[in-house]
């Protein structure tokens, strides 16, 4: 479904974010990407929908080159890829409904979306997306009135409204408290399992990766140093393996459960 072929990324300031990445992700997987901050996790995710341009190699989405895509072709790829962020990035000065409807802009003519006109079926898609994450009762609220966890659910609803094939989640719970973290992760998992939406999440907490992911990819200084299917994985061994990814032992900060007391 997604394939990285010898992909590298060097930023304009000379920072090497990724070196020669080769990675294949199949339909329906829930992939957790872990690694220290600065290891290249966010870059890897953003190369999938070309929010960042690669310096070399090629990224494929369902066999189609994302790297070479431009204009309408790129928009057509992006609308099939939902993305949620650490900072939620919903538009705070708009209503919840407008935010979720904005997930439909790439499916409608621009002159209509500029005027804020969406067909009834798109509104139904938006309502259903909000229902999916149990926040339909806030549909007419201003997004800024919602709590962090609620905002992230609206962000998930916006991504769902795209009717995506893939969901990218860039540190989706890093700004949330432990209880809301579990809620949001549960929604992501539910969508992954029930709708078969391939999910790729950058996670900071290794125990979340253990609990939710079907596969864990470890990145260290721009290289993939670890890649394992999570079936029948032994927790102790998993944590020991991750010491290689982190270059140190797993500490309390790396685990959500420990913070939770």
């Amino acid at each position: 479904m997604i394939e990285f072929k010898n992909v590298s990324k060097v930023y304009a300031n000379g920072v090497k974010a990724l070196n020669n990445i080769n990675l294949k992700i199949d339909e329906g997987e829930f992939v957790a990407i872990i690694g220290l901050s600065g290891a290249g996790k966010s870059t890897l995710l953003r190369l999938i929908n070309k929010l960042i341009e690669s310096s070399g190699g090629e990224v494929l989405f369902e066999g189609q080159s994302v790297t070479k895509a431009k204009g309408k072709e790129l928009i057509n790829i992006r609308r099939q890829i939902g993305m949620i962020f650490q900072g939620f990035n919903i538009v705070k000065r708009m209503s919840v409904l407008s935010n979720v409807l904005s997930g439909r802009v790439a499916y409608n003519p621009t002159w209509k979306t500029i005027l804020g006109i969406f067909p009834e079926e798109d509104k139904q898609i938006a309502y259903r997306a909000l229902q999916r994450v149990d926040i339909i009762e806030k549909v007419h609220n201003r997004a800024s009135d919602l709590s962090g966890g609620q905002q992230q659910r609206v962000a998930i609803a916006r991504a769902l409204a795209q009717q995506p094939k893939i969901m990218l989640a860039d540190e989706p719970v890093a700004s949330l408290d432990p209880i809301t973290t579990i809620q949001v992760m549960d929604y992501l998992k539910k969508i992954n399992v029930e709708d078969g939406i391939t999910t790729i999440a950058n996670l900071h907490h290794v125990d979340l990766a253990l609990k939710y992911a079907t596969r864990v990819v470890g990145i260290k200084a721009g290289d993939i140093v670890y890649d394992i299917q999570m079936k029948n994985v032994n927790k102790e061994k998993f944590f020991r393996d991750l010491e290689m990814v982190y270059g140190r032992s797993i500490q309390n900060d790396d685990v959500l459960g420990a913070n939770n007391g």
Binding site: L51, F85, V105, A106, T113, R158
Partner: protein, 260 residues
């Protein structure tokens, strides 16, 4: 215990700055021919003039002020509206984060800065020369002034938007116009409205003197009455204008506080 010795901060630079500022003020006054004794000797004359203007002002003149005052406000409204509407798209083009072509926004900014530096009164006298005297010239002057002011403040606001929201819209397949509509506009709208209202406040004050160069509004009757030395009427115009400007400022700034 050892005594802690902290060296005194070096004050040389600060003292130099203070001295320079004093020198600048005194020097400017000297060259401008400002003389405190002159002020004192003329205080008596000035007092007499104030007496003729305000004790009492000519209240019966109020009906004659209303129409030009309304014209003044109308000029300010139209000038503000035209200037602000044009300013919005130009601000989008002038911001360096929405359209990243340097050749467009660098020259645009130079032009905007020039517009902003020319006082409305100077613009008005220019347009009176071109279009003839009357409110139309005043409105154009105010439009251009507002345009310069609002576009500058707005493009700076656009450059400071939360990029995360822009990135989110890009990620879901929004094109440039949709990014503008759904990520940038909602973020800048309150500020833009606030700048426009501020422009209106400034314009009401500016419009009140534009008549002096023949560009319509209350300034025209002001000039006529000064020429005829009808100071009680001039006093009335000043009081009237003061209250209108005060009310507009109060209402506008309270709306602005709620916006942002």
């Amino acid at each position: 215990m050892d005594k802690i010795i902290i060296p005194k901060p070096k004050r040389f630079k600060r003292n130099l700055i203070i001295l320079s500022v004093i020198f600048l003020i005194v020097g400017s006054g000297w060259f401008a021919g400002f003389n405190i004794f002159e002020v004192l000797t003329h205080l008596y004359k000035g007092g007499r003039l104030l007496g003729r203007m305000f004790f009492p002002p000519d209240f019966s003149y109020i009906p004659n002020i209303v129409a030009p005052m309304i014209e003044t406000i109308r000029m300010a409204i139209v000038g503000t509206a035209v200037g602000a509407v044009v300013a919005l798209p130009v601000a989008v083009l002038a911001a360096n984060n929405f359209i990243k072509t340097k050749w467009l926004h660098v020259p645009l900014r130079v032009v905007l800065n020039i517009f902003r530096t020319i006082p409305a009164l100077v613009l008005a006298s220019l347009f009176v020369a071109v279009f003839g005297s009357g409110a139309f010239s005043g409105v154009i002057a105010l439009s251009i002034f507002t345009f310069g002011l609002v576009s500058k403040l707005t493009y700076e606001t656009i450059e400071a938007v939360d990029y995360g929201q822009v990135e989110a819209l890009m990620s879901l397949g929004a094109n440039k116009l949709n990014v503008l509509r759904y990520a940038i506009m909602p973020q800048i709208m309150p500020q833009y409205m606030s700048y426009t209202l501020y422009g209106f406040e400034v314009n009401v004050r500016a419009a009140a003197v534009l008549g002096y160069v023949g560009a319509g509004g209350i300034g025209q009757i002001y000039e006529t009455n000064l020429a005829w030395r009808q100071f009680d009427r001039v006093g009335m115009i000043i009081i009237f204008t003061f209250f209108i400007v005060l009310i507009i400022d109060l209402v506008s700034s309270s709306i602005r506080k709620r916006l942002v």
